[in-house]
């Protein structure tokens, strides 16, 4: 049993069982090596605010999880190496996600389900994957994905459910390299009037054989795609 765990470190940080609001908590994890895992949860108590999670992992096949509930939380994950996995989820207002991965075959999964949230994902290397969901009412949500290398894929989905939903969501994707794919979806099922307005999606791709798609619903939306290179495909549906 002991031998199988050589080289494997796992850190689990939980703020447990408080029935009251928790604020100003910081979690800071640094792991160097391979097959490391960091799991962080800042989620107990209604109205918890101002939590910070910082995870830095250097090496390959590391896994980082940040889960925050409440407002004004920050989650920063930095991973250097190959085949790393980062998962971040936030359910409160004014939350920020920052994921940076360098290496190949890294995966970032991020989700935010409230208003005034920001997410930034940067990946360098080949065959990286980023999925970013900003759901809920998505008012004034910002998404930024930057990928450098070949065969990277980015999915950004900003959807809204509820009254007067999804105003002013912004998604920007920049990909440099070949065979990259970017998909941006901004739409909503809402009862508000006017529903889903002022969304903006911008995609820039430099390189060959790239694919960009933007899908937007309803009013006052703006979509732009700039592609430099050969054999690129741009599709916009409104």
């Amino acid at each position: 049993m002991k031998k199988t765990l050589l080289g494997v470190a796992s850190i689990l940080v939980m703020s447990t069982g408080a029935a009251f609001a928790q604020s100003n908590n910081d979690a800071d994890i640094v792991q160097n090596g391979v097959n490391n895992q960091a799991e962080t949860f800042q989620q107990q108590g209604r109205g918890s605010t101002d939590g910070d999670i910082d995870i830095t992992q250097s090496g390959a096949r590391n896994r980082a999880v940040a889960d925050q509930r409440g407002g004004e939380h920050d989650a920063d994950i930095e991973q250097n190496g190959a085949s790393n996995f980062a998962q971040t989820s936030q359910t409160g207002l004014d939350a920020d996600i920052d994921v940076e991965q360098s290496g190949s075959r890294n995966i970032s999964e991020s989700s935010q389900s409230s208003n005034f949230v920001d997410a930034r994902v940067r990946q360098s290397g080949n065959r990286n994957y980023s999925n970013l969901d900003q759901n809920g009412r998505s008012n004034s949500s910002d998404a930024l994905v930057i990928q450098r290398g070949a065969g990277n894929r980015s999915f950004v989905e900003q959807t809204s459910i509820g009254t007067n939903a999804s105003r002013g969501a912004s998604a920007r994707v920049e990909q440099n390299g070949t065979r990259n794919e970017s998909y941006v979806t901004q739409y909503g099922t809402t009862t508000g009037s006017p529903p889903v307005t002022n969304n903006e999606a911008r995609v820039v791709q430099n390189g060959n054989a790239n694919v960009a798609m933007i899908d937007q619903g309803n009013y006052d939306n703006s979509a732009s795609i700039l592609q430099n290179g050969t054999g690129n495909t741009a599709t916009i549906n409104q």
Binding site: R153, M213, Q216, N218, T233, T235, N237, Q238
Partner: protein
């Protein structure tokens, strides 16, 4: 959504199927390079004031734009060779402006179902270019313009089905150009101006 596209090289998403009109949407696509493809679909519901701009610089580029609704504008600019611009408008759509420079470019404009007060313009410079403006059904009081500079260019304007009061103009400067205008019904005007040698004009009203 995401699972559908995993591993996909090129894909097309159906419009969102909203039950209400989609208006005031802007599309801007710029592609620099060769063999690029741009596709814009603004037909999810009959919205208004939608605008699309597509610019492609290079060879072998395709632009396809489909728009439905009122007061929409479509602008396509292509510079290079063997580019194709195809625009389809459905009822009450707005103005179309296609500009192409280079050789063997082709521009097709199809206007369906009774727009009026529209300007449909194609301007081409170079050799072997082909422009075709066609209305299908009840297009009245519109202006059609094809302007071509160069050799072996071909311009065709066809406004026959229930089309009245339309003004079709073709201007060609160069050699061995061909212009054809077909108009049915009443109060239409056609004018063809050709400067050069070996040109041919054909107007049927």
């Amino acid at each position: 959504m995401k699972k559908v596209f995993l591993g996909a090289v090129s894909a097309f998403v159906l419009s969102t199927g909203a039950a209400f009109a989609q208006s005031n949407n802007d599309v801007d696509i710029v592609q620099n390079g060769a063999n690029n493809n741009a596709e814009v679909d603004q037909t999810a519901a009959w919205g208004s004031n939608n605008e699309t701009d597509v610019t492609q610089n290079g060879a072998g580029n395709d632009a396809f734009v489909e728009q439905r609704g009122g007061n929409g504008d479509i602008n396509v600019e292509q510079n290079g060779t063997r580019n194709l611009a195809e625009v389809v408008q459905s009822p009450f759509a707005g103005d179309v402006d296609i500009r192409q420079s280079g050789t063997r470019n082709r521009a097709d404009v199809d206007d369906f179902g009774g727009g009026s007060g529209e300007d449909l313009d194609v301007r081409q410079s170079g050799r072997g270019n082909d422009a075709y403006i066609r209305t299908l059904g009840g297009a009245n009081d519109n202006d059609f313009l094809i302007d071509q500079n160069g050799t072996r260019n071909e311009a065709r304007i066809n406004a026959e089905l229930g089309a009245s009061g339309n003004d079709a103009r073709v201007t060609q400067n160069g050699r061995n150009n061909y212009a054809n205008v077909n108009q049915a019904n009443s109060n239409n005007s056609a004018s063809v101006l050709q400067n050069g040698t070996g040109n041919m004009a054909n107007v049927n009203q």
